[in-house]
Amino acid sequence: MKTLVLKPRRTGLDYAFVDDGRTEGVVEGAMDGEWDAEDGNDPMTRLRLQCETEWRGAPVEKILRAAVVRGIYGGDEFSKPVVVDDQVERRLEAMASEAPLHMPILLSLLRRRREWLGGIPVALVFETSFFIGLPFRERSYALDPELTQRLKVRRYGFQGVFHESACRWFVRRRGLDPVRSRILSVCLEARPEAAAVMGLRPVMATSGVTPLEGLPGQTSCGEMDPSIVLTLAQKLGWGPEQIDAVLTRESGLSGLTGREVNLDEVFMEGNKDAWLARDVFCYRLLQMAGSAAAVMGGLDGVVFSGRYAFVGRHITPWLRQRMGFLAGLEHGGVLFDYFTQSFAMALVDTAWLALRGTRDVRLHAGLI
């Protein structure tokens, strides 16, 4: 049997089928469509239709053991994956305003789960869960606590699934003591994110209240003097919406290069115009390595993950050479590795690890 992995998007869905035992490669695909489209044009109904042909009419329960859904934001509410029921739905509804663009899509998938997925258990894994326990000193901004509580302002990471899986894999593979391991985890996705992970728990993250802060992304600006926002408003008469459009869609590595680029292109040889994007990105990573070593009292390794994990190979030689800031033995001892597993596999792993204690036998069996 299989586990279905679902990544709902604004206008579509990425999916993957992971076979029991997961020895074989994963079947992945994408389905486009508006979630509230009528007459069966929503992505999930289209996926079901496609499946029915393939399954020759067999019921869902015969083919799928469980579905695992990726949730981008779980706020302070969800510290680990959950099996979705009506109560979970209500909790998600209550926090819709904290992730106004994402929660509605997630809900439109979950609300009709019975119609689409019959009786199979649906597990929900949040990217933020890994970061929910960030130490207070790391998750706080230097603002009045009254304000930050009212607006629910705190730092999160938004690539928790990759960080968690990559670090666990790294520790196992390199024979590190999990409890004492000190890792800089670098997730290379469209919006890259680095985290300092000590004893498999994050102690530092580059993202902020939103994924905009931190490392520069493919089109998002990353860390920036906050007064630049005010300068743009004052000098250009722009409203926050206009500023947001530029900072999230025209900035980052593309803004530095002067054309739309992805991480792969930035580090590809021959792309001379991307030198500044490359330098800025590497420089920020070097700073993160320094910060990570400072907050963890040292650094055992750097692990790259994400869709562009292999880009890490271009960064490693330079970064390794700059590790001279670490004293003595540690200098030469920093390990580098690349977690190249697909997101679907990482997601299923994360879900299983968290849910193996649940009583739902199907889920348990399916996920093992």
Partner: protein, 408 residues
Amino acid sequence: MYTLLKNKSAGLGTELVSFAQDLVRQNSVSLDEDAAAGLVEKRMNAVGFDKVFRDDAGNVAGLILGRESEPVILLNSHLDTVSPAKGKTADAPEAGSIEKGRLYGLGAADCKGGLAAQIYAGALLKRSLLPLRGHLVVAATVAEENGCSVGVRTLIEKTLPEMGLKPNFAILGEPTGLGLYYGHDGWMEMDILIEGANPFHVDDAAMAIFNDFGKRGGISSGENRLETMSIRQPSFEKAEGCHRATIPMTRRLLPDEDEGGVLKEVQHEAGLVAQSSGMVAVEVMVREEKQRMCNGRTTVVKHLTNAWETDPFHPLLARARQSLAAAGCEAKPGKWRLGRLGMGTAGSVLVKEFGIPTIGYGPGLEEQAHRPGEWVEVARMSEAVYGTAAIVHGLIGVPVCGWTTDEI
């Protein structure tokens, strides 16, 4: 977010147009808006407003709840129209029909097209699941055209406070051609009364005033003709041993003029003109009228609309402009010209009496208002839905900065 709004608003297009057609087909001359109000109420419920209610005056208000209850924004359009022109223009398309992308019919531009767009802006925000901080009220008010904003006054004075709502901003769906309008001149209807024992004196004085004021019937030049004053022939009557003449007159009010000052000024000038005509007394009064509303209640209304203006640098206007720019809509700021006297908007009441910063953003064209063969462009109506939703989200939405819709 704007892509999302744009896509969803395209999806609402058909529904919007058919509703606007229904609304235009339904007669709703001032003080007889009941049936149209019923349509609005039904539609607001259908598109998912959290609460819909009708008040004593006959206004319909729909509420979409925000999470923090502040600030409150009011989208307001009037439901009523002026009376149809006598002697039907034969070549005008039938009410509610669409020809060459234009929806025809009385009130299409002023301001049923605007009303439909505002209702669907609410529907669009609801449909796109974008949470709001403050509350959104969409109100279709009665007795605007002929009733000097009795409807909107009741709404603000009574209906909304009873629900615990006090609007911080208002947007009118009056025709602005999708510009952002922030005010207009006012006007005031007066009666000049001339009384005296000697009928010849009264007659002389009345004619002298009529001729003198008539000459001023202020006209500015060329095609930008702007009526500043109009005066009608005096009527005469005899009462209790004295003769009386009444001269009805209408005069434009500029933003810095008020009722008392203008009355004094007109009285003074009329007095001077009448001086040479012997012993007569001249008095000037604002015209008042007793009105029976569509729900049977009666009210006395003054025929007066104050000039109003929202500070062009007010954050309401700035934020509306910025939100539209971010949404990719072009919106020129401006003011209603009110070429003919007797026109106006609820802005006078909202700004002058209740101190609520107000702007106008509607799909109709001002020159279409009160015209035979009135129309509104369907495409503009659709854009008004999107634009209004963008403005509302900018003002009271939960900000979504930093996120993009898909990748993180």
